[in-house]
């Protein structure tokens, strides 16, 4: 089911939190709404689910206009951050609730609950109460309940935020598996770039109620549309350097790089260098500085290099080097992979 959100505007009282936003999600696609808290991603999710009223614009599921429909009438399943399982009901009753609301026959409900439980692999837990389940199991119940009435759209609101690191990894692939198997159109709200990148077909990165960029994870990582996007994606994060473009890129008084080809910028710009594109193991123009911090990570080390102009670059260096703190270094930058942004932060 295709989701088409057009010119969506949302106000709370006098403050407009989202203005004129458009988003379309292809049928069977899983898209992430990524952004820091307060960027409007949950608001968008709740508008699509029907819990929030849409103050301006339209929402279509396929060809059907659902803009004014109350949540009950929208073919949407939602998984909440805290799962929102009904504490007084057994797992089976939790999953069966949406079906009971539709007044299906008990036998039919039982059958479908059983199927769904098998799908999410909790067939043995049906008699338990939610508080007797682990976080991951609760998550699976929540998924089953959201999917049991065969919605056209699955909305996931920070579904992994309450899980520990190991379970998070497991559930990431589990959710993706379920989405693929059911072929449902899904929207994932998250503030975690790794979740977004690893689970989704596309990512919509949001900032202050606007979509900053919408693209596939790889494309967004490789070609961030703005300094903001570049800074949001990547761990360890990208380093930014203030530079002056006039024929070449001057970084402080002592360092300069050639302008990447095809760039005709002039004046102050921002240079973004990801840690994996700077270091002694790369080829390209070099930048000199002094090692100011070493953070061993096991397989590799993170090393901060402070330039004479007091700006800092971070590098990922394979372990087993003999670099010492305070040591002056001159390392190479993979110039084809650096990003340039103008003063407003837009990609050049």
């Amino acid at each position: 089911m295709r989701i088409e959100l057009q010119n969506f505007t949302k106000r709370f009282g006098d403050t407009t939190v989202i203005e004129d936003m458009s988003l379309s999600v292809a049928s069977g696609e899983m898209i992430a709404l990524l952004g820091p808290s307060g960027c409007g991603k949950s608001t968008t999710l709740f508008a699509i689910s029907g819990i929030h009223r849409i103050d301006g614009g339209t929402l279509h599921f396929g060809d059907r206009d659902v803009t004014r429909l109350p949540p009950q009438d929208r073919p949407v399943g939602v998984v909440f951050q805290n799962y929102a399982l009904y504490p007084h009901m057994s797992v089976a009753d939790n999953i069966g609730f949406p079906l009971r609301v539709q007044n299906l026959k008990p036998a039919e409900i039982k059958r479908r609950v059983g199927e769904m439980a098998e799908l999410v692999q909790i067939g043995n837990l049906l008699a338990r109460k939610p508080q007797q389940l682990s976080g991951g199991q609760q998550q699976r119940v929540a998924l089953a309940r959201a999917l049991v009435r065969k919605p056209d759209v699955l909305l996931l609101d920070e579904p992994l935020a309450n899980l520990d690191a190991k379970l998070r990894l497991e559930m990431r692939s589990e959710i993706r598996r379920l989405q693929r198997e059911t072929g449902i159109t899904a929207i994932l709200v998250t503030h975690d770039q790794i979740e977004a990148m690893s689970m989704c077909d596309r990512i919509a990165l949001m900032k202050d109620g606007r979509i900053e960029q919408i693209s596939t994870p790889g494309d967004m990582y490789e070609r961030p549309a703005s300094r903001y996007v570049a800074g949001f994606l990547g761990n360890p994060p990208i380093s930014f350097l203030r530079a002056e473009a006039k024929g070449q890129l001057t970084i402080g008084a002592d360092n300069a790089l050639p302008l990447p080809h095809g760039t005709a910028a002039r004046g102050p710009i921002t240079l973004g260098v990801r840690p994996e594109h700077f270091g002694p193991q790369h080829r390209g123009p070099s930048i000199a500085g002094q090692v100011s911090f070493i953070e061993p990570q096991g397989r590799e080390d993170l090393i901060d290099v402070t330039l004479p102009c007091d700006q800092r670059l971070r590098a990922i260096v394979p372990a087993g080097h003999d670099i010492a703190l305070g040591q002056p270094v001159t390392w190479q930058v993979d110039l084809s992979r650096v990003h340039l942004f103008d003063a407003e932060g837009a990609r050049l």
């Binding site: 709740f46 689910s49 029907g50 819990i51 109350p70 949540p71 009950q72 009438d73 949407v76 399943g77 939602v78 909440f80 951050q81 805290n82 799962y83 929102a84 399982l85 009904y86 504490p87 007084h88 609730f97 949406p98 609301v101 539709q102 309940r145 959201a146 009435r149």
Partner: protein
């Protein structure tokens, strides 16, 4: 130092609590004994103070069982009404979006701190128009209405603490708001509801002024007015009897307290009743 400090504290607290403890103690002792004339030390143990249970202590007084039954009906009907009205109204104020909700909420808080008892003259008129003056039904309605702001306030607090996501999930699962309330939210506030039930029952059980003024007739006597009339009657000065009646009157209260201590403390702490 801490143990010594604790002993000092316990000593101080005991001293301060002594008058109350003495009153409780003698309340119990005097109801089953007879003190020496002019003294307070019990002289002999006896149950004659409890004679009001099996004989009429005065020809004009209704039977204690009738009065107890009235009190029970009064207290439980009040409690049920308060709960029934509170669970819906509090849900609406806590969770539903409707016009003038702010206004109703402000009104609720104002009522909560309102000099209700001073309105009793006017309340009399209203009851009288309804034809409910001097009937148990009338006092029940008034008492329930007066307890209502408190009840709604307490229940609203309990609703507020139910996670919104449960409600959202219910709505998303296709259930109407009413169904969500009944099947998903109501079970979550059960503890609050039972606390309110107990609280309103006790409030009804103890109520004195409302039955005194609004239902003076013999048919609607409750234990508070009964006991007060026994005390006020100057030809029967008998603290032993008074205390036995008091004991009888207080037994359910003490039982409820022992059973539901925690919940009561909660509601008295959560809500606020001066």
């Amino acid at each position: 130092m801490n143990t010594k400090g604790n002993w000092m504290l316990i000593l101080a607290l005991s001293l301060i609590s002594a008058p109350l403890v003495i009153m409780y103690g003698f309340q119990l002792i005097d109801s089953v004994s007879r003190p020496a004339p002019g003294g307070i030390i019990p002289q002999e143990w006896e149950l004659t103070n409890w004679r009001f249970l099996w004989t009429s202590i005065d020809s004009a007084r209704p039977s204690i069982w009738r009065v107890t039954f009235n009190t029970f009906v009064f207290a439980s009907a009040t409690a049920l009404l308060v709960c029934a009205f509170s669970i819906t109204a509090a849900y609406a104020l806590s969770r539903l979006n409707f016009p003038a909700r702010r206004f109703f909420l402000a009104g609720l808080i104002m009522l909560h701190a309102f000099p209700t008892i001073t309105l009793i003259i006017a309340i009399f008129i209203v009851l009288q128009f309804l034809g409910l003056y001097d009937s148990l039904m009338g006092v029940i309605l008034v008492k329930a209405a007066l307890e209502l702001p408190f009840g709604i306030w307490i229940m609203k607090g309990f609703y507020d603490s139910v996670p919104w996501e449960i409600e959202m999930a219910g709505v998303q699962d296709g259930a109407s708001r009413f169904r969500v309330w009944r099947e998903l939210i109501l079970p979550q506030v059960k503890p609050g509801l039972s606390a309110l039930l107990i609280f309103s029952f006790l409030a009804g059980w103890s109520e004195f002024i409302l039955p005194l003024v609004l239902a003076p007739g013999a048919d609607a006597q409750v234990l508070a007015t009964y006991m007060n009339a026994v005390i006020a009657d100057d030809t029967r000065p008998d603290y032993g009897l008074f205390k036995a009646i008091g004991m009888f009157y207080a037994l359910p209260v003490i039982a409820v307290y022992l059973l539901f201590q925690k919940r009561l403390m909660n509601i008295y702490g959560g809500g606020t009743k001066g």
